[in-house]
């Protein structure tokens, strides 16, 4: 069996990639994917923790986190769609109508 700390270590790397991608990419959908990466890092942690501590709740946390991520994606895409219908772009750059 894989040691849970390796799983958590993978989680750190995925988290870093996700965060880095979130503020370097300008395509909204890719940013959303990066957010999903972070959430997956979270899942890895939960799963690793559950395995390590033998805690059933950990599995459940992971399952719920996946559900939340799915809901978030659905809502995100819907919002991006409305953005696209008005601005004809889903780039995060150039959204500067509201500022200061």
């Amino acid at each position: 069996m894989i040691d849970p700390s390796w799983v958590a270590g993978l989680g750190v790397i995925i988290f870093a990639i996700g965060l880095w991608g979130a503020f370097t990419r300008k395509n909204a959908i890719i940013v959303l994917m990066c957010i999903e990466l972070i959430l997956n890092a979270v899942n890895l942690n939960f799963v690793a923790g559950a395995a390590h501590f033998g805690d059933e709740l950990g599995w459940m946390y992971a399952a719920f986190a996946i559900a939340i991520a799915a809901a978030e994606v659905a809502i995100g895409l819907a919002i991006f769609l409305s953005l696209y219908s008005k601005h004809a772009t889903i780039s995060l750059d150039g959204l500067e109508l509201l500022k200061n």
Partner: protein, 732 residues
Amino acid sequence: MGSEISVEFWVATIPFVPLLTFPIILFLGQYFNGKDWWKNILKEGGSISLMSMGIVLILTSMVVAQFIGEMHNGQGLDIIDWITFDVLRSDGMTNGVNLGFGIYIDHISLMLLFVASFLCFLINWFSIGYMNTDKINDNRNHRFYAEFLIFCSGMLGMVLADNFLWLFIFWEIMGLCSYLLIGFYYEKPSAAAAAKKAFLTTRVGDVFLMIGLIIMWNIYGSLEFDIIFGWDYFTNPVDMTLLKTSLILMFIGAVGKSAQFPLHVWLPDAMEGPTPVSALIHAATMVNAGLYLVARMFPIFIGTAGDGLVGELADVAIIIAIIGGITAFMAAGIAFVQNDIKKVLAYSTMSQLAYIFTGLGAALWFASKGKPELALFALGASLFHLFNHAMAKGMLFMASGSVIHEMHHAHHHISHGEHEGFDAQDMTNMGGLASKLPITSTAMAAGSMSIIGIPLIGGFWSKEGIIAKIWKAAIYDGGYLLFIPAILLLISAGMTGFYMSRMWFMTFAGKPKTKVAEHVHEETPWIKFPLVILTFMTLGGIVFASLHFVSWVSEGHAFHYDLIHEMKHAFLAMDKEGVIDSTFLILTWATIGLSSIIGPIIAMSLYGGNLKDGENAIPTVSWLVKLSGMVKNRWEFDNSTLANSGLAEALRRRLYFDDFYDWICIKLIVPIGIGAALFDKKGVDGVIKGIESGSQSASTWIRKLTTGSARDYIMMVALGSLIFVGLIWGMV
């Protein structure tokens, strides 16, 4: 307890009734000004405000009926708790402070409450007659009634407040209203100046009062009456020098409010306001605020003496008594030469208030010397004089208002609207009005008698009491300095006899001195009612004393027993055991002789005289007129040398106080003011402008950081995570 609680609740609502009514008048007046029904039915707000004052009067009567005679020890009641918190005292203990509004009831506040609401009601009634018939007031009387109501709520609130802070707040509300009402005819430069003068002069006193209150807060850690009055000086000793300073500073505040020497200069000028204002504020109620403040110090004196600090605060009492004595004498002197009927009354007010101050001084003296029995008697006498004086002076002012009003009308009638060059308030234009103004002349006679102290009439009892008590303090208790006010008061009693008589005879006796005076008629409605009511109140003052309104006749016996006892005391200087004190017997009769016989007779011989042939005065005063005619025929003498002497001139110039203060202002305060203005403009304004423009540019800069780019925001979130991690990690 049930019913009591409800009564307490009603007490607390008293100041709020007028406070809630005034905006109604103001708004209605703003919208409906000039409409017929507004003018005739609602009397430009007068009816509304009368109704409001009527409610106040009913509530007050309820309260007085509930508590009368049982509240010799004050009781504070918290009505609204707003904020409660702890204050750390320098000795490490904490005081709970409640910023809510509460009421404090004892016989002092009950008495003032009644005086204030009763007189406010009557004067409101009078105003409807006086203000609404004057052309000059057209379309702005709603302002008058609104300000009048705020003033009333200020006075009622001040009397009921359960701590010095609320007292001070209401005190300032009154100050503000006084300013507004004196300057009611703001288009008249003299009225505007008088308003400014009154405001600034009382402000001087208020500054001292405020400092005094801050010191007091420092001493006790609270301004609540309950805490201060119930202080235990054994277990929590206080710095007596500091306490003395605080009390004296507070007294200076009272001096300003009650127009005592040397802050008295504003009161005569304040007569520029409409007459109801003079009656209400500058005679009957507001000037009593200072007296109330000093009377409020009484439990402190009792408390310190009771806790073994006998005589520690006696100096304060002496100062109060001496200031009173000086003012009584000085104001009476100045009143000798005034020809303006309201100015005479103004100086008379000052003088009579000074009597009360002296009486309070005696009361405080006894209290601090550990003689609470005598102190209570002196306090009772002073408060009773306050009552009598308020009733009499309120009426006198209203009567003088009636005279002025009718003179004005008569002049208007004769000269067809030309107002120039005629002073309706000048007594040298009057004379012989007794036949034309029957009710007014009777009322004025009764009021004057009360002020003079003609035996058996209202003011007699209390004035006699004050003089006896101050002399008692001076003779028997070793307060040599107290001989100064004692002697001054005795002389002033005679002077009062003179100037009050002079005023009455100049106005009502003799032949009319001008054509205007011949055409005067008593015709204005609404004016008579308050005069009649107050005449009875004035004449029968002793009845109220025996209702235990004040702790004057302290035993709860039947009325006639008290009366007889009181008469024995007053006329024979007999104490409870029936022993006659010869010193006081002489003193009593000296006072009566000076004030009731010598003073009036001199006045009669100079200013008296029969009416024009064929005219008859109302029987209530005709004997006075005839008496004055007899005296004049018998003893008339020429006083022109005296009248033209330097002393008379000095008195006419009000002993140069105004010139002196003007000089100080121009030489000292104005340059400082100019300098300060310059500093304000260049220095302070510059700094403030700098701060403003600085913060504006900081704002612009800081808002530029909100770039509008979502990617920047995301980056800030990531950065913020790092910051959190860094700060928390760094902390460890």
